[in-house]
Symmetry: C2
Subunit: 338 residues, 2 copies
């Protein structure tokens, strides 16, 4: 057994932007599995915008991270030692584990096996994981895009946005994306097959950018950002548009949130705006996995992952992701594949 | 036949608040019905907040009022002359007619008979008319209140709010209302049976006022006002709350609309916010009329009407209603019942 276990601990709660001082890297010990437990050597961990909410004091839907405790994340790892009949050393597993080299899954809670042959391991934190299922559920339950409709996706090159746009394309929609650089906009248009995309950071007006690219208006908005882009989307929306309220990353680090002025359109355009959380729909996981695996295998869906190397870089990578500096689904490599 | 027909014409479009200068009272002539037409002597006309939108240039869901033309309104009147087999002189009818003493319904378009025995005539512009059906449809299609849930209604003593709250009470909800004076708040609590109500104009904080009166949070918000009250309702909302976006009267006369900051709750609380327009659901009119007539007859639903006297006072009454100075459903008496 190894004798060191690096761990990243939350030392304070951020006000506004997350800062390096909110984290501390400490040397812990490798826990000993008891009966029914599984010890996992962590390989990849997922960094996701919703985790910003968990850094606040009990204000998000997910429970708060605790001060002085190891932060949690979705992880892909290898079983290092097992006292659980369902898992054997060497198995590749998914789990809700820690920002650390080794995590103990008590009673194997949250673990499940993943098929390392089917897709690269980080995909189980992205296209085949929570972000992919978030896109799939949001469109299935709320967006309900129909062939010929226009779907707009913000944060289009992000973990969820990539999948949302490609599902829209598969469903026969005109798909438009916004992203935070020319390279990201080019990626979703050229590689992922979006019909149009733009760099919101250089757009003179969100409204004009949307109007130009949505000549028939907008029927479904997959909203990952909130704020001023949401205002523009409300203005461009067609009657009976559906707004999938997946997240509002533009607002999470503001002490004073931006106001959205165009809600008056909800009534006159009969718009439905609806939030959701993917974990409410976990009964649909098998159906999601089967459909997404098929799309990945056939090449109908592509997926870009942004890998940061080293657990020690996780805090800086998380902060950069909140600022939109990642390009694709952000993961951190904690250890070697095998 | 009478020889005079007073008419109120739109002379200019308002920017911000509507002003008396936007209207002109002119002396017109009584139109002559041709084959299939019906001439109506107008008795009551309805003033409704949505009409503010029709004063703008083609920005609302209803078509714009035209400059230089007689304004339109829902009217209850008496047939003065008919060249249509469906209507005879003396019949009491509802129609989308004009701000004038006499209106011509070409081919009897928009007319229908009303039962003057069943309810006071203004009820057909309120509880038994578009506002009542708006409350009924909004709760049926979007709010879907269940027994034991908390329903909050803004503009609770208004044309729609009175009905929305009473339907919630009939459905077994805890019903809370906000209104613009102590007398209005007392009316909805004491006369209409709301469980609690408050005067938003004297409340120190909308949030505190709601939290105090919704100890179990808020499951359905019937929103007639938008703006800062919507922000407070988002904060008090329970998971899976439904927001019936009926109107936003607090915003209609602002040149720069207020921003709503709490939309981040949509995702974490899985809130559905949905706008609607009652005329999309006109197939349900018979079902609505039957249920509402029953409630009125049994006394389960009460309804307050605010009657302003005289067509010449319609512009000032409309402006006052937009400022919340009415108490109950606003109508204007144009002529005597018979």
């Amino acid at each position: 057994m190894p004798d060191g276990n690096r761990q990243i601990v939350l030392t304070s709660r951020p006000t506004g932007w997350v800062a390096p001082e909110n984290f501390e890297l400490r040397e812990g010990t490798v826990p000993e599995p008891g009966s029914g437990d599984v010890l996992v050597r962590n390989i990849f961990m997922s960094l996701d915008p919703y985790m910003r909410g968990r850094m606040n004091e009990a204000k998000s839907y997910a429970s708060s991270f605790e001060i002085g405790e190891v932060l949690q994340a979705r992880v892909i790892g290898e079983v290092a030692a097992s006292k659980n009949d369902g898992y054997a050393a060497g198995d590749i597993v998914f789990g809700m584990l820690g920002w650390e080299d080794y995590s103990l899954a008590k009673g194997a809670a949250s673990l499940r096996h993943v098929d390392a042959e089917l897709a690269p391991l980080p995909y189980y934190l992205g296209a085949l994981g929570m972000p992919g299922m978030t896109a799939w559920i949001g469109l299935r339950e709320i967006g309900q895009p129909k062939a010929g409709e226009t779907l707009f996706v913000s944060a289009a090159s992000g973990a969820v946005g990539q999948i949302a746009g490609q599902i829209g394309r598969i469903r026969g929609c005109r798909v438009v994306g916004s992203a935070g650089s020319d390279a990201k906009a080019a990626y979703v248009a050229d590689e992922l097959g979006f019909d149009a995309a733009f760099n919101y950071k250089t757009a003179e007006s969100y409204l004009a950018a949307l109007q130009e690219r949505c000549p028939d208006g907008l029927d479904v908005y997959f909203d990952n950002v909130g704020g001023a882009m949401l205002d523009a989307a409300l203005e461009v929306a067609n009657p009976f548009a559906r707004f999938v309220e997946c997240g509002m990353i533009s607002q999470y680090n503001l002490v004073e949130r931006e106001g959205v002025q165009n809600l008056v359109y909800l009534t006159r355009k009969r718009i439905r705006m609806q939030g959701f959380i993917v974990s409410d729909h976990s009964d649909l996981l098998p159906e999601f996995m089967a459909e997404m695996a098929g799309w990945l295998e056939s090449g109908e869906v592509k997926y870009r992952v942004d890998v940061a190397d080293g657990l020690e870089n996780a805090p800086a990578t998380f902060i950069a992701m909140l600022k939109g500096e990642n390009f694709g689904k952000q993961v951190v490599r904690i250890g070697p594949d095998s």
